[in-house]
Symmetry: C2
């Protein structure tokens, strides 16, 4: 197969991306356009004549407006493209369009819980209120590790494992503060995650983050699936470990009594992540993931876009796709929170394209941020959540999180994500529990170098062996298979216990 | 033995503490004083006549000044004691006194490293630059866990273990910010800790906290005792785990080739901690630890007092004991930093005694903070360090840390602490690696309830079966024995890998 010389990212785009440097006079066959002048690799070529002032689209989204007339085949960059006043107009909902439902329904093999929610995995979880009970929690989980004690879960083949999700915080913080509220919300979200058949919450006893308050604020009650206890009440380390092992032994038969059944793809709640991005992220893996998300949303499923600092300066792109002004305004409120948060602490969030970005072919802040937003596909923004809030809407939603991968994904899983999809160019090794996490490589070199950790190679888009639409369809199938129980690479390697990192917003005193 | 009715905390004190409620007319034999009026349990009784304006001492330190004349045997509390202008006068060095060297030298069995530093344990450490390499680090450490793979270290009895100290941060932070500098200092301190025979540092590859910068800023170089590598360079999870195991296999023979030898107690560097304090902390365990620290300092050893927010408002107590004005000023600078840090983030650090504190017998902020400061004994403050800075002075020093136990102790160990001494009333389960940690129970009920986790019962002071001086002497011996290799309770239970919590000061974007 002859690799096409340029990559089309979306059917509505006015530009394509040069795979290698394009020389004047070259015919770009699939676009029926002849190159005018020189276009560096990774840069944009116009595919039609564009009048001055007209919007220019990449990823099907506006990246700016022609600052002078542009002819088909010409290089599109800072000399003829600018964002004008776009970034001062949130234009709430102006570009929302009705989602066309899929003509053919998609399914996966899920585990339907008593309350109707659908799980993609079946773990027993051990949570901690504070760092002080982390070692006890890990010791209990170790007792059930299949690689250490294969006999412990031998009679429970339907249980994917027992995982301890520990953390470094929980005390010496303001009991009335936002930081504790966020931690409680995160723990509460995990405590009732559908992928947990049952849960232990273990405390020390005297911590600020009291388990009784945690349960009360999150509307949780102890029951046969949720046991809580503290080291101080139980009488120290050894008794607490034994108590936890005993509780889990009691929970195992019920946890094992599950059967996968065919359920609609609408039960998927997918957290979108990128980490270790490279110049290809916005050309291959992110658009591929976006194409799969569009398919999912057409099935009634849910995808969670996040990483607020990485869309900063381009939030207009999302407010325009908001289904209501209220949804758009929620997003803008979170942007204002971040501006304040950074200002107070002398941090910066400026996302303007750097000179390196520009050399690589990115012209505007919109285009740069769109590289990340492309993971979310092209459907409407139906809801905006704060960190770790329960995600109940169906469609494309936004959850406010930092860009930092483990903290961002932890918020999404707390919100109910039952699948994580993670694009990487440099080579992330991220994995998650209790939610499986798939990794999309942006380029073939990474795919070959770090095959252990990658689930799909989006480098095929770059070498021309597949289109974004084709790979998006293939990856959507992989999402369904993974949700049905097929292990992702990171699950094979036992990732997840160390990647639970709640967002720490408190001053620790 | 007949328990004395009142507890003397220090030989220079003007007050003693009522063990139980004292009734007028009772003779307190050991003080040759008769009680005048009613003195509630835990409250103070004057042991001599005190003139108006005279300083009143507890723990050998000023807790305030008589606001009216006080007679021997009378209750000392808010009605006749206040701090006056004391808290506006740092009086640098005004109360420093020459330390009297011990007449009899004390020793322990230590491991002398090539550079002359003395270790109390002999571990191989695995550090990570970022959360992304945490699972790989833990997998490598698991390969050498004696409880899982007893064969792995069978030939290396002098190696205490292989521990992975992982964390949740390292990326999406300001590369020029204070937060990264603090993280690098912490990792640097561990990387060259005497208790590590050798160290691996493992990264992902694309993180903000680059290993090359970490080494450069900390003056470290790769050598036969310090190997670094990344998952991206090594080619993914499986190869990186194998590479780490291979490196450690190579390091083990040299790590095992150590012998303990008799060294001076002056080589002890003791981090002082309290957590889960109760009403007895300031009466039993903290003064006992302080008595032991005084013995240590007289031997030329070092003790690190920390937990800045818990001395807030009473920093005058330490500035007065500073050996030079410069040392006192460093402490005050850190206090100002905390005021600013809290103000910027809407947090509070007010340490005034609450009404509950007052009901329990604490009169002034000085007295409340002294309850914690008492851990440091009564010698001069010879130096002040920022978090995780290398501690090089000998004597009583201060390191600025939060009060939160794991973060505070992590800073002390980064600074070189080769023993942690931790007082607790509610029942902490803290443990540390590579530094052993001893726990002092403040009361006998805790000692009995949570015997697993406690190393010494300071409740003996409360029930009168030992004086503070006696228990201080006994605990000093325990410090020497522990430094010589006797395992603390928390080491027996495998604590340490989950309690490494670097102070996170960065905004995470
Ligand atoms: Ca952790
Ligand atoms: Ca319970
Ligand atoms: Ca990210
Ligand atoms: Ca190396
Ligand atoms: Ca503390």
């Amino acid at each position: 197969m002859n690799a096409p010389a340029a990559i089309r990212l979306h059917i509505n785009d006015d530009v394509v991306i040069a795979r290698n440097q394009l020389i004047s006079g070259t015919l770009i066959a699939q676009e029926s356009v002849t190159v005018q002048g020189l276009i560096p690799a990774g840069h944009k070529m116009a595919t039609r004549n564009i009048a001055e002032g007209e919007a220019v689209r990449r990823y099907g989204q506006i990246i700016g407006f022609a600052s002078r007339p542009i002819m088909a085949g010409q290089h599109v960059h800072v000399h003829n493209l600018s964002i004008g006043d776009f970034n001062r107009d949130y234009a709430y909902g102006k570009e929302s369009v009705d989602t066309v439902p899929a003509t053919e329904a998609a399914f996966f093999q899920g585990i339907v819980r008593g309350d109707g929610r659908v799980a993609t995995r079946n773990y027993i979880g051990i949570l901690t209120s504070v760092n002080c009970s982390a070692t006890v929690a890990r010791a209990i989980a170790d007792h059930f590790r299949r690689d250490i004690h294969p006999e412990a879960l031998a009679a429970y083949p339907n249980v994917d494992g027992v995982v301890a999700l520990t953390h470094g915080v929980g005390c010496a913080i303001d009991p009335q503060g936002e930081g504790l509220a966020v931690l409680q919300r995160t723990l509460g979200g995990y405590a009732c995650h559908a992928n947990f058949a049952s849960v232990l919450i273990i405390g020390l006893g005297c911590e600020t983050n009291q388990i009784s308050d945690l349960l009360a604020t999150q509307g949780l009650k102890e029951n046969v699936r949720l046991h809580t206890f503290t080291i101080q009440d139980t009488g120290g380390t050894v008794k607490t470990i034994q108590h936890g092992i005993d509780r889990i032994q009691e929970m195992l038969p019920a946890a094992n009594a599950v059967q996968r059944q065919t359920v609609s793809a609408s039960h998927l709640v997918v957290g979108l992540q990128c980490g270790g991005s490279d110049g290809y992220s916005g050309i291959s893996a992110n658009p591929v993931l976006g194409a799969a998300v569009d398919l999912l949303v057409r099935q009634g499923g849910t995808a969670i876009l996040s990483e607020t600092p990485e869309i900063y300066g381009a939030e207009h792109l999302l407010t325009r796709r908001a289904v209501t002004p209220a949804v758009g305004e929620k997003l803008v409120q979170r942007i204002r929170w971040w501006e304040d948060h950074c200002k107070r602490n002398g941090a910066s969030m400026d996302n303007n394209p750097s000179s390196g970005n520009k050399a690589g072919g990115l012209t505007t802040v919109l285009e740069k941020s769109l590289g990340g937003i492309a993971k979310g596909g092209s459907t409407n923004l139906v809801e905006v959540y704060e960190y770790a809030q329960p995600v109940r809407a169906q469609g494309l939603v936004f959850m406010d999180t930092p860009g930092y991968d483990p903290i961002s994904a932890t918020g999404q899983v707390a919100g109910g994500a039952n699948l994580i999809c993670f694009t990487t160019g440099r080579g992330s090794a991220y994995g998650c529990a209790p939610t499986p996490s798939l990794k999309l490589a942006t380029n073939t070199a990474l795919w070959q170098r770090q095959a252990d950790d990658m689930d799909i190679n989006c480098g095929d888009v770059l070498d021309g062996s597949a289109t974004i639409a084709e790979l998006g369809q293939r990856f959507f199938q992989m999402m369904l298979e993974t949700a049905s129980g097929r292990q992702s690479r990171s699950e094979l390697h036992g990732y997840g216990q160390n990647e639970f990192v709640p967002w720490q917003l408190s001053v620790i005193t």
